[in-house]
Structures are given as C-alpha cells and as structure tokens.
C-alpha cells in the first residue's frame, strides 16, 4: 500500500516537471505553425530583404529588417549603459567595498530589476525624454535613445549580480599572489580577477542582451510605433516586441494575415533569444567545471 502511494506521488511530481518540456514544445509548435501559415502567403526572401514593414497598411510590405533594426538599436543603447556601469559595480562590490556596504547595496540593486517595466516606460516617456530634449533639440517625443537608456538602467542588476558572482568565485590564492607582487587592487582586479572570471562576465553580458531584445513595455511606450530602418537614436522606431503589442491592442481576426504576422515576428524574436540563451548556458556549464 505504502509502495503504491509512494509511486503515485513520484509520478505526479514527475508530471509537474514534464510540464516544463510541454511548455517548450508548445511555444515551438505554436510559433512554427502560425509562422508556417504566414510564409505560405509571404515569401521568406521578402521577409528578410524587404526594407519596409507595413502589414497594417493597404500597401502591405512584410520586411522584418526595420523591426530588427529597432530592436538592435534600443538593445545596443541599453547595453552601452548597463555594461560599463554594471561591470564597474561588480568589480567595486567584489574587490573594494566593505562587507556591510555590499550587504545593504545588493538587495537595493535588485530592486532596480523588480520595478515593473511599464513603470520604466513611464519614466522614459514622461521624465527622460523631456529632460534630454533640453540638450538634444531634434529629439522626437518617441525615440530609441530614452527607451534604450532606461532599459539599460533596468538591466544593470543583471550584469552586476552575475558578474559579481563570477568575480567572487575566483580563488583567493590568485589574488593573494598578485597582491604579493605589489599590485594594487585595481591592477589585481583588471589583470587577474577579471580575466579569470571572463566566462562568467561574458555570460552576464549575453543574458543582458537577450533580456534587452525581449523587453517590451519600455519600448512600446517610449520608442514609438513606426517601423523604420535607421540607426538614428533620436527618431521613433518600432521593435519586434512593440509591434506584437501594437497588433494585440487592436481587434485582429484570428486566422487573418495580420494575426499571423505577430507569430512570424514572435518566432524571429524567439530564435534570437534562444540562440543567446543556449550560448550562455554552454559557457556557464564549461566554466562551472573549471572551478569545481
């Protein structure tokens, strides 16, 4: 009796674990199915080469490039903010800061990531854009600059906490050897600790990029909804995620080509983030082996 009960419990726990596999299959199946339907109507060559994305207009063009450029532009700006700041924080906290300071500051930094992204969207549109317009006269009300900067602030904790874990895991004797040679903390940090923790730092950067590419509400609110193939940070653009939101807000008929565009955009986004996440997972696995 007891054995049967144990077995039933084990199997039901297993079922819960298998749900996660079902989610992955579900995501891939749904995206692939709808995207396949989409590509029966739109040529895949046009999808990757057409420079216009106007599925909601009468003159329809289905070129993903403008959405990709919008996505890359906002992500690039975000990473340019988050990377130097996040990395400096992680080096400062792991090598310089007193323990008590580190203990109080870490949860506060995590708070940056806990704030809902719709709130950051509000900051970008209502606070940061008007502020930047004082210095950049040509800055449009919707632009990738403010959205990117604010997104960068949001992902600072992603870079800093993962990098810091990596820096912290560097064996102490490496540092001591460097100090013994008369090196300063700065020299030790940049010439010994950072190179030793480089794989962990790279993982944090890749995850931050993946996070920026998938971020939705900040760009939907503050970057505009005009797909445009440009690298100019002062004009409105549209990201893949913002496009999906734009279509979802409207009343789109199930099975229509408009409905399928969001899945075609979605599968592009999924493939991008999947590649980045897999890469970071591979690096992380390799680096764990190094120290264990």
């Amino acid at each position: 009796m007891r054995k049967i009960k144990e077995l039933v419990i084990e199997k039901s726990l297993l079922t819960s674990a298998l749900v996660t596999i079902a989610i992955t299959f579900g995501i891939i199946a749904v995206l692939a199915f709808e995207a396949f339907q989409f590509f029966t109507e739109v040529s895949i060559v046009d999808f990757f080469t057409d420079t216009q994305w106007t599925p909601l207009f009468t003159d329809k063009h289905y070129g993903i490039l403008p959405l990709l450029s919008g996505t890359f532009l906002t992500s690039f700006i975000a990473i340019s903010v988050a990377l130097p700041v996040g990395l400096s924080i992680s080096i400062y906290l792991s090598e310089y800061a007193p323990k008590s300071f580190r203990k109080t500051v870490k949860p506060l930094l995590e708070l940056l990531a806990a704030v809902p992204s719709v709130v950051y969207g509000f900051f970008a549109l209502i606070v940061v854009t008007p502020f930047l317009q004082q210095f950049i006269p040509g800055l449009a009300g919707f632009n990738s600059l403010s959205a990117g900067i604010v997104m960068g602030i949001m992902i600072i904790p992603f870079v800093s906490s993962i990098s810091e874990d990596a820096l912290y895991a560097v064996p102490k004797d490496l540092k001591e050897a460097s100090y013994g040679m008369g090196a300063t903390k700065l020299q030790t940090a940049f010439k010994v600790v950072v190179p030793a923790a480089s794989s962990g730092i790279i993982v944090s950067i890749i995850l931050a990029i993946s996070r920026a590419i998938g971020e939705t509400m900040i760009v939907a609110i503050a970057a505009g909804q005009q797909p445009r193939l440009t690298l100019d940070p002062t004009v409105p653009v549209e990201t893949i995620t913002a496009f999906i939101v734009q279509v979802s807000l409207g009343d789109v008929q199930h099975g229509s080509i408009e409905y399928r565009t969001i899945f075609a955009a979605g599968i592009t986004l999924f493939v991008l983030t999947f590649l980045l996440n897999t890469l970071s997972y591979r690096i992380r696995k390799k680096y764990q082996e190094k120290y264990e």
């Binding site: 819960s16 130097p84 509000f122 020299q187 999924f270 983030t273 996440n277």
Partner: protein
C-alpha cells in the same frame, strides 16, 4: 609622481568611480520615484481605489484593474505554486543525475530566458483559442503561471539543495519513507527559501503587462471580474492605457496608479527578503 604613486592614484580613482556607478542606478530610481510621488500622490484617495474607469480623468478609478490584478494573483498562485514546487522537489529529490534530468535542467534554464511576450503568444493560441477560454482571467492566470514556473522551480531547487543531508538520514533511520521524509522534513526545512522564491515570482507576475495584452486583457472593463471566465484588466495595463493618452489628467492618474503598483511590488519584495533572512539564519 613615480609609478607607485600613479598606480595608487588610479586605484583611488577607480574606487570613487565604482561608488559612483553603484549609486547611479539607485539615485536615478529615487529621482523617478520622487517625480512620480509629486505627480500622483494628490490623486490617491479612497475614491481613486474604488471608482470604476471613466472617460473623464478626474472621475476615473482603478477599482476594476486592482480587482483584476488580485484575481490574477490568486489564480496564478493556485496554479503555479503547487506545480512549481512539485517539479522542483522531483528534480532535486528523485531525479538526481540521468539523461532526463539533464534535459529538464537545460530546458528550464532556457525557459527562464524566453521573453515574456512569447508566453503571451503561447497563451493566446493555446488557452484563448484552442481551449476556448477567451480573454478571461483564467487564460491570463494560466499564461502567467507558465511564465513564472521556471523561477519557482529554480528557487525550490536551491532551497531544497541547502537542506543538510543529515536531516534526511535521520528521518530514514526512523523508518520514514521517501515521501514522508520529503513532506515532513525537507519541505518544512526549506519552506522559507521556497516562499521567498514564490513571492518574488508572484511579484513579477503582478507587474507583467505584455503577455496579458497579447492574451487579450482589456484596457477598459466596466466591471470587476466575478468569476474566472470574466474579462479583465490589470493595474499595469490600466497604467499603460493612461500613459498613452495625451490629456494631462490621465498622466496624473498613471502616476497615482504606479504608486499603488510599486507599493504592492515593494511590499512583496520586502516580505520575500524577510523570509530569506530568517531562513538563512536557521542553517548558519
């Protein structure tokens, strides 16, 4: 200045730079929150919490959105909490090292990195269309449950992993079965850690906007949901809707609603940190 002095100076300079960077984000966040308080605090009163949405900014309240958020929170907890903890227990206690566990692990780590809006597309097709739930609270809660499942699983595994082996051995020595050991010893011992993870995951669910927009949650609902099949809105969507309107009154409303949303998020994070500290002390 000789080389040693130069290096010491650089060292000091970097120290200040490090402090500046650490404070950079925090100071900006305080400025933002200060700004929002100035914009929105006057708007918050009892009527703002209990009024229905309206076309006039000064008459609008967040009642339906707040109720929608509470519905989503409760349903998501009911779905994701048992499922996530069960999966975490299975991975940590039953299935240590084989092919399946390796696949599950890679898969969960990958799911945690899938953008939230993709979960929205999954929910739209599977829950809203195929299962025919429509744009209901239940469809929204199911979608968010899938989204936070990986977070709960990872947190559960970490918490269980921290329970010393001696506790399990003592339980087995007394003749307890595997499940009795898990249920009576391991889960209570790791409870604080699991709770921390679950609360953090739920606080993320409360702030999520994009997947619910994709699933079809509305910006304007005249009534609060009364059962799981009702249409709904949530606080973040209400905020998004108000931000998109040009009139200044709605910006004030958005700021006020953000104060409420941040209050909920910060309280949940505070509770989570409290549990974490309490639980960490237990094993050290």
């Amino acid at each position: 200045m000789n080389n040693i002095q130069k290096n010491r100076l650089k060292d000091q300079l970097f120290k200040f730079w490090g402090i500046a960077c650490t404070l950079f984000g925090l100071i900006l966040l305080s400025i933002f929150i200060g700004d929002i308080l100035i914009d929105g605090i006057r708007r918050i009163d009892w009527a703002f919490l209990t009024d229905l949405p309206s076309r006039k900014a000064e008459k609008s309240g967040i009642y339906t959105a707040l109720m929608g958020s509470i519905w989503i929170l409760v349903l998501t907890t009911l779905i994701a909490f048992p499922m996530g903890v069960a999966a975490g227990v299975y991975l940590e206690e039953y299935n240590k090292k084989n092919r399946l566990s390796a696949i599950l692990e890679i898969n969960i780590s990958n799911l945690a990195g899938v953008p939230s809006i993709i979960y929205g597309l999954l929910g739209l097709e599977v829950f809203v269309r195929i299962m025919g739930l429509g744009a209901s609270v239940l469809a929204g809660a199911l979608t968010l449950s899938l989204l936070i499942l990986p977070i709960i699983i990872v947190a559960t595994r970490e918490a269980i992993n921290a329970v010393p082996k001696s506790i399990r051995d003592a339980s087995y020595a007394l003749g307890a079965s595997k499940w009795q050991t898990i249920w009576n010893q391991v889960i209570p011992a790791s409870g604080g850690g699991i709770l921390t993870g679950v609360i953090l995951a739920l606080s993320r669910a409360v702030g999520e906007t994009a997947p619910l927009i994709v699933v079809g949650a509305l910006a304007y609902v005249p009534f609060a949901p009364s059962n799981p099949m009702d249409e709904f809105s949530v606080l973040p969507i209400q905020i998004f809707n108000w931000i998109s309107r040009p009139q200044h009154g709605f910006i004030e409303n958005a700021a006020a609603a953000i104060i409420i949303l941040l209050l909920i998020t910060f309280i949940m994070n505070g509770i989570a940190v409290y549990f974490r500290n309490k639980w960490q002390k237990k094993w050290k």
